[in-house]
């Protein structure tokens, strides 16, 4: 997936949107799908019985953009992600995927939408009865892809999450972090254009967590993937919002810090509080905020 990066970093790390060259704008018109957001929430409400979980949520995730969703535990982050996949239906409001209103879609209609979305579940959600190989291969097996092709793809994905040795193991034999990484490999098979990460780094050691963030950055900057990254960890936020991936002259992927010249515009933070969005914006704005709730969330006290 990352062997032949097609887009250069300039595409994703422009100074500001307004400074797009006129030719770029024409390109945008030529490719209407670039201006249509990958994910859009319009005033979404959802309650479980008397419990109001989402109370008028609106946001968009553009193509090639990453939205980092922050919020306290039980704040409705996983619920938001489940809505995108149509695993739950909102009480009111609309959800659009690539401009398609999926709110009223039936389970069967949802299947075509889900085909372009990869989801990393908070608890891994691996199939217990299938080996690691079959878990990762699941989507390809369902599509009836030839076994030789499946095997190459599965090995490549497992190498990517550094779990080649575990290929024949059953999920019960894996540690929590390994399960999570298998879940990531499973979600990324088939190169989905939208990837949803639900706390992918929770409970992992810092280097592994860093690897997962790098992975998300590579998807964003080199593969033009739109993603949602739910997390509690400020370290992840820092990686995602201040580094970008590019390919150096040797063809190696390198990570560079945003600086004076380049400011990352493809990562935004969304902060949830009591079912409402209380902040959307870049990390610089987030750091500069004086909202006491956000300050407490960042510092922990």
């Amino acid at each position: 997936m990352f062997s032949q990066p097609t887009e250069d970093a300039a595409n994703t790390a422009e100074v500001t949107e307004e400074e797009l060259a006129p030719t770029d704008l024409e390109d945008a018109v030529d490719e209407p799908e670039r201006v249509v957001p990958a994910i859009e929430f319009r005033d979404v409400h959802l309650s479980f019985e008397d419990n109001k979980i989402l109370d008028g949520i609106s946001f968009t995730v553009r193509r090639g953009e990453t939205k980092v969703i922050l919020g306290r535990s039980g704040g409705g982050k996983s619920t938001t992600i489940r809505l995108i996949l149509g695993l739950l239906k909102p009480d009111s409001g609309q959800i659009l995927i690539d401009g398609e209103d999926i709110t009223e879609y039936s389970e069967i209609e949802m299947m075509t939408v889900r085909a372009k979305i990869g989801m990393v579940f908070q608890e891994g959600a691996l199939f217990d009865s299938l080996s690691v190989y079959d878990n990762v291969a699941y989507r390809l097996h369902e599509q009836g892809v030839a076994e030789s092709e499946v095997e190459t793809e599965v090995r490549r994905m497992l190498k990517f999450v550094d779990l080649e040795d575990a290929i024949d193991k059953m999920p019960a034999e894996l540690s929590g972090g390994m399960r999570r990484r298998v879940g990531i490999a499973r979600a990324l098979v088939g190169d989905p254009q939208i990837v949803l990460f639900d706390e992918p780094t929770a409970g992992l050691d810092p280097p592994t967590a860093r690897t997962i963030c790098e992975l998300a950055i590579k998807l964003r900057d080199l593969e033009d993937v739109s993603s949602i990254f739910v997390t509690h960890e400020m370290k992840n936020l820092e990686y995602l919002s201040s580094e970008y991936a590019t390919v150096d002259e040797n063809g190696e992927v390198v990570f560079e810090m945003e600086g004076e010249k380049i400011c990352l515009i493809n990562t935004e933070i969304v902060m949830l509080k009591e079912g409402k969005i209380i902040f959307t914006g870049k990390d610089e704005e987030f750091a500069a905020t004086d909202d006491p709730y956000i300050l407490k969330f960042v510092r922990g006290k």
Partner: protein, 256 residues
């Protein structure tokens, strides 16, 4: 009122489950391998308990009825007595109850555990309809295997009856077999095979529904397992009455 509402709701949900599962059969991918795996698990796996049940039921039928038959001087009809009750009633119903205990609980526990560990969600997220991948193969395997299991139970029941009659009461095997053959009709055998088809459908759909509608974590899995077995057993027994009546009138069976 609330109970009635709940009942109607569950009935509707189970009907939907069956409809979706069967509609899915006509679309690819077809989960043929999964059906065969379930047939092996359900059919071959349940064979020992069903055979044992059949054997001892046949045995006990002779044990209890033979003295009465002697009283009326009708000991030659012993085979007929076992055969009719076994093939018409006890074979189908007891096999269904054993299978609902063994397979119904397994199905709802497995699906329930998949619900609480979000595997069902993951499956849907990966573009697979659980009705087609999980529910349909199980229901079909049950519908196909339960009649076979029932026939096996019937055969072993007759065997058990014959052995008890010979060894405890000294009835000749030939006499027993002749009376069995005189006693049962084609209608009995057909009826005894039609019933388990429906019982398989009941056990499969009730257990899958209970499993998939699990809530409240692992505690919920236990609860849905219990209610899957209880509900499917009760529905089997109630349905058996109406099915027997229907079969009687369809085949025009008159009291002898």
């Amino acid at each position: 009122m609330n109970l009635l509402k709940k009942f109607l709701f569950e009935l509707q949900e189970i009907t939907n489950l069956i409809i979706f599962a069967f509609l899915g059969l006509f679309k690819s991918p077809r989960y043929l391998k999964e059906i065969i795996r379930q047939m092996d698990l359900i059919g071959v796996g349940s064979l020992p308990i069903v055979l044992l049940t059949g054997f001892f039921t046949g045995g006990v039928l002779i044990l209890q009825t033979y003295p009465t038959l002697v009283h009326y001087g009708a000991q030659a009809e012993a085979g007929r007595a076992v055969a009719t009750s076994l093939i018409r009633e006890l074979g189908p119903v007891l096999s269904a109850l054993m299978v609902s205990g063994r397979i119904g609980s397994a199905i709802s526990a497995e699906l329930g555990a998949m619900v609480v560990s979000q595997q069902i969600d993951a499956m849907r997220a990966l573009g697979t309809d659980p009705n087609r991948k999980l529910v349909a193969p199980r229901i079909i395997a049950l519908i196909l295997m339960l009649p076979l299991l029932t026939v096996a139970a019937d055969v072993f029941g007759l065997l058990g009856g014959g052995i008890v009659a010979k060894n405890l009461y000294g009835l000749d095997y030939n006499l027993f077999i002749t009376s069995v053959r005189n006693g049962i009709t084609t209608e009995d055998i057909l009826g005894g095979i039609i019933k388990p088809l429906f019982f398989g459908l009941i056990i499969g759909s009730v257990s899958c529904y209970k499993g998939l509608s699990t809530t409240d974590g692992t505690v919920g899995v236990g609860r849905s397992t219990t209610s899957a077995v209880v509900l499917s057993s009760i529905v089997v027994i109630i349905f058996d009455f109406f099915l027997s009546r229907a079969i009687q009138s369809i085949f025009d069976i008159k009291p002898i």
